[in-house]
Subunit: 345 residues, 2 copies
């Protein structure tokens, strides 16, 4: 008999509320014969304040034993900027080598977008997750003086770029349009830019059916608002991916519905799935948060673990729910209940 052994990290703010609904939908969609085991972890601001710890080696050893991780949100204004980001979120991505940061953007029927008209939006960003300016490489001299110099080093390796580019080509190959766009800034960041461009062109030869395209990151933001339909799959660097996926989420219905996966395709370590939105402390504990992004992250999680038809059932349920939502105001729990009922149905 099959089983899913899940690490659950509700985290801070609305993380608790949305994860509860994600788990509800997960339980509802799984066939009877699949045993779901969950273990909850208390990472986040509360634990940091109590112990000073964000993520220890023992934590990593424990997390490692699970098939996958579901995360709500980590972050709180009471913790200095960077502490939880670098000490937990990025530490985990790096420790578990989550090099494929997957962020689909699809404008679903009934969902409003800040863009005029109702443009077709259905693309996936494959963001590199373990290199670029996110490595923590850099430093500061003469801190706090008028002679301070602070550097940030973007580190890019052929190994790291090639594996994510190949993953993106495979994803493009599997989609009807079979189109892959590289987003970078190779006219200015010429060292990293040449590496990305050369690796991209080399791997392209293995995927003759995939149409390729290159756009500078600044121009990409223009196309995301004027012609998002031109994108099918995008592959890009860690920082550019961070920036354009927030914009992509905004134009395709907002971060209330944006899901993401921090994936290690080798399965050497568990992959982690989380909504793109943060902990939103201003609305936490009020039942106002939309759990849809978390529920869609559960779908990505299921697909990653091989439960394709269950993933599709969730996505269909979300589409139907959004399509009928109109102006109705429902609580976090009501939306979770509605989605659980649909997937069970």
């Amino acid at each position: 008999s099959r089983s899913i052994n899940l690490a659950v990290i509700p985290g801070d703010g609305i993380g608790q509320e949305v994860v509860a609904q994600g788990l509800k939908v997960l339980s509802a969609v799984l066939p009877q014969d699949v045993k779901l085991e969950t273990e909850e972890y208390d990472f986040g601001a509360k634990r940091y304040h109590a112990t000073g710890e964000t993520l220890t080696e023992a934590d990593l050893d424990s997390l490692k034993k699970h098939d996958a991780i579901l995360l709500g949100a980590i972050g709180d204004p009471s913790v200095p900027s960077g502490v939880l980001e670098r000490g937990f979120l990025l530490k985990l991505r790096f420790a578990f080598d989550h090099h494929v940061n997957l962020r689909p953007s699809k404008l679903l029927p009934g969902v409003s977008t800040p863009l005029a008209g109702q443009p077709e939006i259905d693309f996936v960003v494959v963001r590199e997750g373990t290199e670029g300016p996110y490595t923590g490489n850099g430093g500061t001299i003469r801190k706090g003086t008028e002679h301070e110099v602070a550097t940030e080093v973007s580190v890019n390796t052929a190994f790291g770029v090639e594996r994510v580019v190949r993953d993106a080509f495979a994803r493009a190959q599997a989609r009807p349009r079979k189109k892959l766009t590289l987003v970078h800034k190779n006219n200015v960041l010429t060292f990293a830019g040449h590496l990305w461009t050369n690796v991209f062109n080399k791997v392209a030869q293995e995927f003759p059916e995939v149409t390729t395209d290159y756009i500078h990151v600044d121009a990409a933001t223009i196309y995301l608002v004027t012609d998002p339909a031109r994108f099918d799959v995008i592959v890009t660097d860690n920082l550019f991916g961070d920036i354009i996926t927030d914009l992509a989420a905004a134009v395709s219905g907002g971060i209330g519905v944006a899901a993401s996966g921090n994936i290690n395709p080798s399965r050497e370590f568990p992959s982690m799935f989380e909504p793109v939105h943060g902990s939103a402390p201003d609305i936490a504990g009020q039942g106002k948060a939309d759990p849809t992004a978390t529920v869609l992250s559960v779908a990505l999680l299921l697909r990653h673990l091989g439960y394709e038809s269950e993933a599709e059932r969730i996505e269909t349920a979300v589409s139907a729910d959004l399509g009928e939502r109109g102006d109705s105001v429902r609580s976090t729990e009501q939306i979770g209940d509605a989605l659980a009922a649909r997937v069970a149905g």
Copy 2:
């Protein structure tokens, strides 16, 4: 009697056409007693192919003698990516210490935006122009092998950050709303982020009337499409500024109307004014390019040189022209003629 000694760099593609109209409007707006002298330079792809040169020391010595520089666009697909960008555009910004890269965004009446509704957009981005990941610092080892490592170093100095932050505070102070937003990614790029944040908070004390605000660059792209009215003045790093000003141009009427100044406030070297758009080789030579962005760059140039009322006359003329434009299709020259007639009138 007064005079303006202008270096003119038409450059590549549509650069020639739009600069001609910019100069036409400039001549029309200047009072009789101001003597306009121009010297044209042939920088760009043609010269690069003929001589291999992009910008020599002798060129810099010659450019240095002018009061300001008007640039059309530099760039052509026949030149490898990065050669003209690093060898001309960035070389000039660095050589003349153009540390204030000024990019206003204003949605003018009659101008269409990809955003639904007609949101109020009227902000200015002050982009740092001589530091960050644009310094060319970095390198490549084991090039072309599977062990290649390429780095890009973002260099940030207290000196460089403070001068641009102070400039931005002064600009915010001079505007009715008096609001300044720092855009960075200080939760991940913690070395540079702390420097920017600390300098920003320190300089803020000198401007008690200015309301301040901080937003991560990824979130800034969301606000630019969902709530652009929240911005008044933005100050940011060179790369973040590159990215968000293209998005800002897109939402506030497109790069056909986006102007920019590469300013050295000390006036030690001439400042350079240019449209944000590129050389658009696909429509070059056809009289299809909109010269409005260049004409608005001429207004920024005039303001920089102290011709405030002439700058305003150009801006008023552009507003009126855009407001009456409707669906009419006019040539580059027709638009230039119309604007020249308005400012002369």
